[in-house]
C-alpha cells in the first residue's frame, strides 16, 4: 500500500478523531435545552403555562422571560416594519417557530418535559403560497399591511426598445421549490454566560454577521460576546449561517438560568425549523433575432422567504445581480423582484445561494429559445457567448456586465466546446434509444460575495451607508522551533481548508507542509472581520490570497532578520534557508532565526523588527459598494458548461443519470482532489434538488417533510453506476493573488437546467416545475 496523501481533515475523518460541536466537553452543571415549537402555521398566542415543567423537575422560559433578555429584534436587510425575534412573542408565524424552551440535566429528560408546556393558541388562517401572499386576504405582519416585504424594479440598458424591436420574444414561467441543502450534522450550540461575558460555542459558518446579529438581539456589546466554533463542522452549505436565532435562544437560556446550556437540534427540527432556500416563481422573457442572437432579458421573480425576511435574505435575489446575463453578451436586462412572506420556515443561505433558481430559469429558457428557433442548443449558446473583455483594471481584462458585474477574461468558447464531442456522441445514442436524454447548461459561477449586494433590497435613495465587505484576515506566525502557524477565522465544513492552506503557505515559504500548523475556526477573541467565514466559495479567491500575502510579508520579515543575523545586505533564499549572496556557505534557516529572535531579541540591531507574526487583511480589488442599482456582486466569475445524459424508465417514469460532464475554468487549481470533490458534491446537491428534495406543507401549513424518507435524499445507492467526467481548464486569475476562482457552487447552479433540458429532449417539452417527480413526467407524457 502506498503512502497516504496529505489530507489532514481526511485523516481525522478516517480515525474518528474529528471534533464536532456535540463532542465538545461540557462544563459541569450544563443543562440541555429542548424547544417547544408552534404546532400552528399562524396563530395568536393566548397563554403560556410552564408550571408543569417545574413540577416535573425542569426549568422553562416562555415569551415573557425571553423578552427580558432578548429585547431587540434582529436587524433586517429589507426596509419593512417587520420584527424578527428568535421566538414568537404574540403570534406564531410558522409551524416550528420556538415559543418556549425547557431545560433539564439530561437530553432525554429535556425532550420529555416538552409534554408539560401548555400553550393556548388561537389558530389563524395561514398564508402558504406566493399567490395567496400577493392576494393579501390574510396579513402575516400587520405593520407591513401586505405580505410583500420588498418590491424592486430595475432596468439596465435599452430594454424596452430591444423587446419592441426584436422579432422573437419567448416567455416561460417557472417554479423552483423550497428545499434545504441539509448538512448531515444538525445545529448545535453551547452557551455559557458568566461574569457579564457571553461565551458561545456553535457550529456556525464563521463569525461574520452572526456575532453582530446575536449582539444586537441580546443587547450585549460585541466586546462581551465571544464566539467559538469547534475544529470540525459536519457540513453546512449555508444552512448554519441561520443558526443565529438559536444561538440567541441558548444564550438567553444561559443568562436566565445562570448555567451553561447545550442544545443539539434533532433532524426533524432541522427539516422543520432551521433554514431553507426559498421557493420562487419566475417569468423569463428572451428577446432575440431569428438566427438566435439574444438581445434582451426580462426577469420577474417572486421569492417566498417564509415567515420573516431573515437576513441575509432577500440577498438570494441579488447574489447573482452582477451575472444576470449568464455567459452571454446581453446589454439589456430588466428585473422585477417581489419578496413575499408566507407562514413557512424562514429562508437563508443555501448552497449556491441564488444560483440554482436563477440559472434553472435562464438556461431552460435559453434552451426553449433554441427549440423554438430550431437551432441546436449548443450552437445557440456558442453564438451568444462573451468573447470580448475590453475593460482593463490593473493587469487584468474584464467584461463589464450591464448590471455592474466584472467577468475576468477567460476563453468561454473553449470551455463550452470541450463538452461538444461527448454531446454529439450521446445525440447519436439518442437516435437509437428514445429514452436517452441529452441536455446542456452553461453558467458563469460567481464566487467571493460582495456583502454590499444586500443593499439592492433598498431603493438607492434610502440607503444610509455604502457596503462592500468581502475580505478576510489571515495571521501567520513562526514559533520558537520554526513551526509556521496559520490562523484563519473561518470554519472547516469539509472543504479541506487546513490541508490547502498548509500546502499553499508551505509552497510560498519553501518549507515542508508538515511544519505548517493550520487553525481554521471561529474565535472572536482574535482578529476577525465582518466578512470572515466560509460562504460563497470565497476561500480560494479571497482567504488563500490573504494567506499568500501574509506568507510573503512574513518572508520579508524573515529576510530582514536573516540580513541582520548574517550581517549582509544581500540574502538569497532556498528550501527554507537564507544565505549570504556574496558567500553562499553562510546560511541560516527559519528555525534558527526563530530561535534566535525568541531567545535573544536584545542582540538585534536597532530598528530591526523582532516580530515573527503577520496579520493581513485582503480585500479583493474588484469589490466595491453599489452605485445606484449597479454592483459587482462577487469578487470574481468563472465559466462552466454542463452536459447531462439521462435515461428515462418507461415503466416508472423515473430518471437515472447515466453520464454527467462538467467543463470549467476555475483559474489556478490549488488541489485537484478538492476541486473534483466540490464538483461531485455540488452535482449531487443539484440532482437532489432537481429530482427529489422539497420541503412540502399541507393546506394548514403543517410541514410534510419531517423525515429523510419523505425528503427522498439520495443515498449511495442512487449514485452507483453514474459516470462523471470533469474537464479542467486553468487560466490563472491575475487580479487575485491566489489566481483561483471559487468552485463550490457552480455545479449545483447548472444541474437543474441541464437535467430539465435533457428530459425535454425525450418528452418534447420542458417541465418547468421542480422537483421532477415521476408522476409529473407521466402526466407530461400523457399530454
Amino acid at each position: 500500500m502506498s503512502k497516504l496523501p496529505h489530507y489532514r481533515e481526511g485523516l481525522r475523518a478516517v480515525t474518528g478523531s474529528g471534533e464536532y460541536i456535540d463532542d465538545i466537553p461540557t462544563p459541569p452543571g450544563t443543562l440541555y435545552m429542548a424547544i417547544y415549537r408552534s404546532p400552528y402555521a399562524h396563530a395568536r398566542i393566548l397563554k403560556v403555562d410552564l408550571t408543569g415543567v417545574f413540577e416535573h423537575g425542569g426549568i422553562a422560559y416562555g415569551p415573557n422571560e425571553l423578552s427580558k433578555v432578548i429585547p431587540n429584534p434582529f436587524p433586517l436587510a429589507v426596509d419593512a416594519p417587520i420584527k424578527y425575534y428568535p421566538f414568537a412573542r404574540d403570534k406564531a408565524r410558522f409551524v416550528g417557530e420556538p415559543i418556549a424552551i425547557v431545560l433539564a440535566d439530561d437530553p432525554y429528560k429535556a425532550v420529555d418535559l416538552l409534554d408539560y408546556v401548555q400553550v393556548d393558541l388561537e389558530p389563524l388562517k395561514p398564508v402558504l403560497t406566493i399567490d395567496d401572499a400577493l392576494k393579501g386576504d390574510v396579513i402575516i405582519h400587520e405593520e407591513l399591511k401586505s405580505n410583500i416585504a420588498m418590491h424592486r424594479h430595475m432596468k439596465f440598458g435599452p430594454v424596452d426598445s430591444v423587446f419592441s424591436e426584436s422579432p422573437i420574444v419567448i416567455k416561460r414561467e417557472f417554479y423552483y421549490q423550497k428545499h434545504n441543502a441539509m448538512p448531515l450534522e444538525t445545529y448545535g450550540v453551547l452557551a455559557h454566560y458568566v461574569n457579564g461575558v457571553l461565551n458561545i460555542w456553535a457550529n456556525a459558518q464563521g463569525p461574520l454577521l452572526i456575532t453582530y446579529f446575536v449582539s444586537r438581539a441580546l443587547g450585549i456589546p460585541t466586546g462581551n460576546l465571544r464566539l467559538f466554533s469547534p475544529r470540525d463542522i459536519g457540513g453546512s452549505f449555508g444552512s448554519k449561517y441561520s443558526l443565529y436565532p438559536y444561538i440567541t435562544l441558548a444564550a438567553a437560556a444561559s443568562i436566565l438560568s445562570g448555567r451553561p446550556v447545550k442544545w443539539v437540534e434533532s433532524r426533524t427540527e432541522h427539516l422543520v425549523g432551521s433554514n431553507s432556500g426559498g421557493a420562487r416563481k419566475g417569468v423569463v422573457e428572451i428577446a432575440a433575432t431569428r438566427d438566435g442572437v439574444i438581445r434582451g432579458l426580462r426577469f420577474k421573480f417572486y421569492e417566498d422567504v417564509g415567515a420573516y425576511p431573515r437576513p441575509p435574505d432577500p440577498g438570494v435575489l441579488f447574489r447573482v445581480h452582477g451575472n444576470m446575463n449568464g455567459a452571454y453578451d446581453v446589454r439589456a436586462i430588466e428585473v422585477e423582484d417581489y419578496v413575499v412572506v408566507t407562514n413557512k420556515l424562514p429562508t437563508g443561505l443555501n448552497r449556491a445561494y441564488g444560483g440554482p433558481p436563477f440559472y434553472f430559469m435562464l438556461e431552460v429558457a435559453v434552451n426553449e429559445l433554441a427549440r423554438e428557433l430550431g437551432i441546436d442548443p449548443l450552437e445557440l449558446r456558442l453564438k451568444n457567448l462573451i468573447r470580448e473583455f475590453p475593460k482593463k483594471i490593473g493587469d487584468e481584462y474584464f467584461y463589464e456586465t450591464v448590471t455592474g458585474g466584472l467577468y475576468p477574461r477567460q476563453d468561454y468558447e473553449r470551455v463550452v466546446k470541450a463538452i461538444e464531442p461527448e454531446y454529439r456522441r450521446w445525440l447519436e445514442e439518442r437516435r437509437k434509444n428514445p429514452y436517452i436524454g441529452v441536455g446542456i447548461a452553461v453558467i458563469v459561477e460567481p464566487s467571493g460575495t460582495n456583502l454590499g449586494y444586500t443593499d439592492l433590497a433598498i431603493e438607492p435613495s434610502k440607503r444610509k451607508y455604502p457596503h462592500s465587505g468581502a475580505g478576510s484576515y489571515v495571521t501567520i506566525s513562526v514559533d520558537m522551533s520554526g513551526y509556521v502557524k496559520v490562523f484563519v477565522n473561518g470554519t472547516n465544513e469539509g472543504l479541506g481548508h487546513e490541508t490547502t492552506l498548509a500546502e499553499v503557505v508551505a509552497a510560498e515559504l519553501g518549507v515542508d507542509p508538515s511544519i505548517v500548523i493550520v487553525e481554521n475556526r471561529v474565535d472572536t477573541t482574535r482578529t476577525w472581520a465582518l466578512s470572515d467565514g466560509s460562504y460563497s466559495s470565497r476561500f480560494a479567491p479571497i482567504v488563500v490570497s490573504a494567506a499568500i500575502l501574509a506568507a510573503r510579508q512574513l518572508k520579508e520579515k524573515l529576510t530582514r532578520l536573516a540580513m541582520a543575523m548574517l550581517g549582509t545586505e544581500k540574502v538569497g533564499y532556498e528550501n527554507g534557508q537564507f544565505y549570504d549572496v556574496n558567500n553562499p556557505s553562510r546560511r541560516i534557516d527559519i528555525r534558527r532565526i526563530a530561535a534566535s529572535v525568541n531567545w535573544d531579541p536584545g542582540s538585534l540591531p536597532e530598528g530591526v523588527d523582532a516580530s515573527l507574526s503577520v496579520t493581513v487583511f485582503y480585500q479583493p480589488p474588484t469589490v466595491k459598494a453599489a452605485e445606484g442599482d449597479r454592483i459587482n456582486s462577487s469578487a470574481t466569475y468563472a465559466i462552466q458548461a454542463h452536459l447531462a445524459v439521462i435515461e428515462l424508465d418507461p415503466n416508472t417514469y423515473d430518471i437515472r443519470v447515466k453520464k454527467y460532464v462538467i467543463s470549467h475554468d476555475s483559474g489556478r487549481i490549488l488541489k485537484r482532489e478538492f476541486v473534483d470533490g466540490q464538483l461531485m458534491g455540488g452535482l449531487m446537491h443539484g440532482l437532489a434538488l432537481t429530482l427529489y428534495e422539497e420541503l412540502m406543507y399541507d393546506e394548514q401549513g403543517n410541514p410534510i417533510t419531517t423525515s429523510l424518507d419523505i425528503y427522498e435524499s439520495p443515498t449511495l445507492a442512487e449514485a452507483v453506476g453514474m459516470e462523471v467526467e470533469f474537464i479542467h481548464f486553468e487560466t490563472p486569475a491575475k487580479f487575485l493573488i491566489s489566481g483561483a476562482h471559487g468552485v463550490g457552487e457552480g455545479a449545483m447552479m447548472g444541474v437543474p437546467a441541464a437535467i430539465v433540458n435533457a428530459l425535454a429532449s425525450i418528452i418534447g417539452k420542458a417541465i418547468t416545475e421542480l422537483p421532477l417527480r415521476p408522476y409529473k413526467i407521466m402526466k407530461a407524457l400523457e399530454g
Binding site: 481526511g10 475523518a13 478516517v14 480515525t15 474518528g16 474529528g18 456535540d22 424547544i35 417547544y36 415549537r37 437530553p107 432525554y108 425532550v111 420529555d112 416538552l114 409534554d115 441543502a181 441539509m182 448538512p183 448531515l184 459536519g234 457540513g235 434533532s266 433532524r267 426533524t268 465544513e493 472543504l495 418507461p650 415503466n651 416508472t652 417514469y653 423515473d654 478538492f674 470533490g677 461531485m680 458534491g681 455540488g682 449531487m684 429530482l691 427529489y692 412540502m696 410534510i704 423525515s707 429523510l708 424518507d709 419523505i710 425528503y711 427522498e712 435524499s713 439520495p714 443515498t715 449511495l716 445507492a717 449514485a719 452507483v720 453506476g721 453514474m722 415521476p774 408522476y775 407521466m778
Partner: protein, 475 residues
C-alpha cells in the same frame, strides 16, 4: 401535548427479555401492555419518533429456537427470527424461493437486514412491506403459537389491514412455510430516490405443463391498503400468449380491484397504479419471453446467530445494568432501558459514532455489533448488553490504519467527515459478510448511508479500492 419535533429519543419503557418461546408467550400474557421487539427495525423508529409508546418491550431476539431454515416434507420452513439478510443470502431459500430472497435484498440496507426479521416484518404488516407480495405469490403460510395453542394461517389471511394482522395480542409468529411446489416467479420493485419503502411491488408466480399455465398467482404490494392477490387468472393460457395479451390481462386484473390506491409524497394513487400496471406488463412479457431478470447475488450456507450470554435483565431501581464490550474492553453502566446504544457509546467517549437523523436512516451511527453492521440508534443499549461492539478504533491497530481507512483517505472519500465513520463500518460488513467483490448490484442494494458532501463518487471508489485491498490480503 405540543407537537414534538425534538425527536430521535424514545419515551420511557421497561425492557424484558425472553430466551425461549415459552418464556416469551408467558411474558406476553403476564404483561398485557407489552410490545414484542424482534429486530426492532420498524418499532424502534416509531418509538424514537414518539409515534407510539409502550410500557413494556419484550425482546425476543435471543430465542434461538426460532432461527432456522430447513426444507422438509412439502415445505421450506423459515424460523420467524431469521434475519432479512439470511432470507436474502441463504442458499436453500435462494434455491427454493428465489423471489422471497429478492424481496429481502430490496429491504432497506445491510444494517436493517442484519437485525430485522421475517416474522417481525409480517407481524408489523406495513402495507409497503417487501415480503407480503412475494409470500402471497408463493402461497405461503405462517405458524402462530400462543400458550398451548398452535395454528397455521395463510399469509393471505394474516394481513388484515395496514399494521393490523390476524395475530392475537398473546400470540407470536414462529415460522413461515412455503410449499415446495416449484413455482417460477418474477419480483418487480420500484422505490423512489432515497425513500425508505417501495411505492410498487409486483410478484408473479406460475406453474406450467407443456407450455400451458396450470396455476398462477399475481400479487401487488404497496399500491393498495392491502396487498392484492389474483389467483389462477392465467390458467389455460400458453406461456407465450401471456406476453402477447399482457396489456389485456393487466387491464382486467386492475379493473377487478376495488380499492382506493395508497397516496403519499413519493407517489400519488393514479401514478402508483399506472406503474404497477407497467411493471405487471413487464413481468408478464418477461415470463413469456423467458427473459426474467433475476438478481445475481451471492449466497451462503447457514444463517447468522444472535448469541445471548447475559440471561436476565438486572434492574437497579428504574435503571438497568448494561455491560458492553467496546473495542475489546468491557464497559459497564446503569442506564435507562430506553437509552440508545448510540448515546451509550457517545457517553463513554466513542464520539466517532455520530447522530445524523431521528428515524434510523442515515447510517452515521453505524457500528459493528458482533461483527455485523447495525445502526446504533436503532438498538437500545440494554439489548447490546453482553455483546461486542466495534468502532473504527477497534479495527485499526494502534496508529496503523485498516485497509478500509486507507482506501477512504486515498480516494478522498470524505469532506466534512460526519458520515465517514458510519460508511467505513458498513463497508467493513459489506465486504466481509455480503460481497467481497463489491459488485455494483449488491452495492446499491446494501449500502444506503447518506453523505451530503461528496456526491458519493469517491466513496464508491473507496469501497472498490478497499475490496481490492482486502481480497489481496486474503490471498
Amino acid at each position: 401535548m405540543g407537537m414534538a419535533y425534538a425527536l430521535g429519543r424514545p419515551r420511557k419503557f421497561n425492557y424484558l427479555k425472553a430466551s425461549s418461546l415459552d418464556e416469551a408467550l408467558r411474558l406476553l400474557r403476564e404483561y398485557g401492555d407489552a410490545k414484542v421487539l424482534a429486530g426492532g427495525m420498524s418499532l424502534m423508529p416509531m418509538l424514537k419518533l414518539r409515534m407510539t409508546e409502550v410500557k413494556y418491550l419484550i425482546d425476543i431476539l435471543g430465542i434461538d429456537e426460532l432461527r432456522y431454515v430447513k426444507s422438509d416434507g412439502n415445505y421450506l420452513r423459515i424460523g420467524a427470527l431469521v434475519s432479512h439478510n439470511d432470507v436474502a443470502m441463504n442458499k436453500l431459500i435462494n434455491e427454493k424461493a428465489k423471489i422471497l430472497s429478492e424481496a429481502a435484498w430490496h429491504i432497506a440496507d445491510v444494517q436493517v437486514r442484519n437485525l430485522g426479521t421475517i416474522g417481525g416484518s409480517l407481524a408489523h404488516a406495513d402495507p409497503a412491506a417487501n415480503y407480503y407480495p412475494a409470500l402471497l405469490a408463493l402461497d405461503a403460510e405462517v405458524v402462530v403459537r400462543g400458550i398451548g395453542t398452535e395454528r397455521v394461517v395463510k399469509v393471505s389471511d394474516l394481513y388484515k389491514g395496514p399494521y393490523v394482522t390476524d395475530l392475537r395480542p398473546d400470540e407470536l409468529i414462529t415460522e413461515v412455510r412455503i410449499p415446495l411446489s416449484g413455482f417460477e416467479g418474477v419480483y418487480e420493485f420500484f422505490r423512489r430516490g432515497g425513500a425508505s419503502f417501495p411505492s410498487v411491488i409486483v410478484a408473479v408466480t406460475y406453474q406450467e405443463r407443456d407450455g400451458v399455465i396450470t396455476s398462477s398467482r399475481i400479487a401487488i404490494g404497496a399500491v393498495y391498503p392491502e396487498p392484492v392477490l389474483i389467483r389462477d387468472n392465467l390458467v389455460g393460457m400458453g406461456v407465450k400468449e401471456v406476453g402477447a395479451k399482457a396489456v389485456e390481462i393487466v387491464n382486467s386484473v386492475f379493473s377487478s380491484i376495488d380499492a382506493k390506491p395508497l397516496e403519499d409524497t413519493h407517489a400519488p394513487g393514479d401514478y402508483r397504479v399506472r406503474v404497477a400496471k407497467n411493471l405487471l406488463v413487464k413481468s408478464l412479457t418477461s415470463i413469456s419471453t423467458g427473459s426474467i431478470h433475476k438478481l445475481k447475488t451471492p449466497v451462503r450456507e447457514g444463517i447468522s446467530e444472535w448469541r445471548d450470554t447475559e440471561g436476565k435483565v438486572e434492574y437497579v431501581g428504574d435503571l438497568v445494568r448494561v455491560r458492553i464490550n467496546v473495542n475489546g474492553q468491557w464497559i459497564e453502566d446503569l442506564v435507562e432501558p430506553r437509552m440508545l446504544l448510540l448515546d451509550f457509546l457517545r457517553k463513554h467517549g466513542f464520539v466517532e459514532v455520530k447522530r445524523g437523523c431521528d428515524e434510523g436512516k442515515c447510517g452515521a451511527c453505524t457500528v459493528l455489533l458482533d461483527g455485523k453492521a447495525v445502526k446504533s440508534c436503532m438498538v437500545p443499549a440494554v439489548r447490546a448488553s453482553g455483546h461486542y461492539v466495534t468502532t473504527i478504533r477497534g479495527l485499526s491497530k494502534g496508529i496503523e490504519l485498516h485497509p478500509i481507512q486507507k482506501a477512504f483517505i486515498e480516494e478522498f472519500a470524505m469532506q466534512c467527515g460526519f458520515c465517514t465513520h458510519g460508511f467505513m463500518m458498513v463497508t467493513y460488513d459489506y465486504l466481509t459478510n455480503i460481497d467481497p467483490t463489491a459488485d455494483d448490484e449488491t452495492l446499491k442494494l446494501s449500502i444506503k448511508n447518506i453523505c451530503r458532501c461528496t456526491g458519493y463518487i469517491n466513496i464508491i471508489k473507496a469501497i472498490k479500492r478497499a475490496s481490492k485491498y482486502l481480497s489481496s490480503a486474503n490471498t
